[in-house]
């Protein structure tokens, strides 16, 4: 059996995993952690971790019918905050987490699913060097995420956005570029004009961007079916995988290669 350090970074992660789908008292959380091998955990450390998670909006407490004001610490119950899950910093290395669009989360009624937008924000906030974003179509959904975290994003070496060739994409990105000098973008796509007998000349895409991904510092990445557009938030059923470790490194390398290729051939 593994002996875990209760002061280590693993504790919040273990607590969130113990709370999945359940409302537990402090004592119940401690017993679950002990079952998982964290034999040395004590009430105060777990309580401290729960309060920190609460401050991060990840867990909530409820005073239900079992609550007693004379025993406020051991009778209050804790649960994972709806539609949120572990932030990036709480994930174990190489852990893969499935995120979903809000319409899909609503459809499933799944309180433990992380939203793709939350995951994207979490990734951007964790960045220390640079960010690659690939989204064929983008609108204010993307510019809002980036602009809202201007103070953080402005300090990065670069924010590189790959989009499909479209006028609306260019308009949005030019405004964003005006605001953030470290933002660069590349329009990805190549078209061939072909004369079709009996129809006339037609334009066909021969190379284009269909990738939807976000990669940060060679450490973390989000890959899925989403575009950073309003329908993703309101009506599309999208999923994405939040990756860390080697898989994320591979996504970063792919994005980097794609970026340089597109800049050279643009």
């Amino acid at each position: 059996m593994r002996l875990l350090s209760w002061e280590g970074e693993e504790l919040p992660h273990l607590i969130l995993s113990a709370l999945k789908g359940q409302r537990l008292t402090l004592e119940e959380v401690v017993s679950k952690l002990k079952e998982k091998g964290a034999l040395k955990v004590n009430f105060i450390d777990v309580l401290n971790a729960l309060i920190k998670l609460e401050k991060e909006d990840l867990v909530e407490r409820i005073r239900d019918s079992d609550y007693s004001p004379s025993r406020p610490v051991t009778t209050v119950k804790w649960f994972i905050r709806a539609e949120r899950s572990a932030p990036l910093t709480q994930l174990a290395p190489d852990e893969v987490v499935i995120a979903a669009s809000t319409p899909l989360i609503n459809l499933l009624g799944g309180r433990d699913l992380m939203s793709i937008l939350d995951a994207a924000v979490s990734l951007i906030l964790s960045a220390e060097q640079g960010v690659y974003i690939a989204t064929p179509y983008a609108d204010a959904t993307l510019s809002t995420i980036i602009a809202q975290h201007y103070q953080k994003v402005a300090k990065l070496a670069f924010v590189r956005v790959l989009v499909d060739i479209s006028e609306s994409n260019v308009a949005m990105l030019e405004r964003l570029k005006f605001m953030l000098p470290n933002l660069e973008y590349a329009l990805v796509g190549e078209y061939a004009v072909v004369e079709v007998p009996g129809v006339g000349s037609r334009r066909f895409k021969v190379r284009g961007l269909h990738l939807k991904a976000l990669a940060v510092d060679k450490k973390s990445a989000l890959v899925g079916s989403f575009n950073f557009k309003e329908p993703h938030v309101t009506c599309n059923y999208d999923v994405a995988l939040l990756l860390r470790g080697k898989a994320a490194e591979l996504v970063w390398d792919m994005m980097e290669s794609l970026w340089h290729f597109c800049r050279e051939h643009s």
């Binding site: 402090l26 004592e27 401690v30 017993s31 004590n42 009430f43 105060i44 309580l47 401290n48 309060i51 609460e54 407490r61 004379s70 025993r71 406020p72 610490v73 051991t74 209050v76």
Partner: protein, 254 residues
Amino acid sequence: MCKDENLYFPAPEGMRLIPSHLSEGLTKALVISVYEEKGGGEHLAFSAKALPGVEEVKFAEVKVYEVAVALLIGHPYARYSERRVALPIVDGVAQMLGRAIETEGIIFRLKQSAIEDAQKTLTERGISIRDIEITHSLAHVILNSLPHLSGLSPSEFNECLGVTEKGGHVLEALVYDNSIGGIGGVRSLKKNGSLNPDLYYYFISGVECKRDCEAACRACLFFERCGMLNRMLNRHALAYIINSSAIAEILGGL
């Protein structure tokens, strides 16, 4: 004066009589007690940040010897100084009531350095305080929390202070079940090898009096059945043993 099954005590100003029913509160026993541990006991984990002046907390089986050396008689609400001292004497021999009880208890051992720091700082402010006041005050915080945490009545608990062999410092506070073998009351203070986290909530109420009293009062530290008649208590001294801001942080608004 006794009339119509009621007792009447002269009021402090001496102009009127205050009635009282016959009750336990009429007599307060002044008790001397000592204890010994039976077996090694179980050390309980606690937050050193919340209780910086506590060296160790132990749950143990104890044998306590109690002797009531005098009875102080007066109105149930009369102060110690207003009561009359009575010694039960039969045939010219003082009859001291006493008992030896084997029960369960919890022992808080304080750090001598923390007590000395408290004494030094308070002396600089012109307040003289003895180590027994600090230890006794801590015992009362525990005693007052126990009825809430165990659901038992205050009469089920008692206290005893321990003196170190070297230097005679009073550094240990024992709180124990008042029944032979224990009634499970003090046992509610231990959970999974740790101090019951609910107890931290009561530590704050021991230090911060709602009436903001000078030393101790019914709103903070007084315990109805105190063998020392609620003397030698001072909640301000407890601030050097209990870090209430650290506890507030731990409890996070609970």
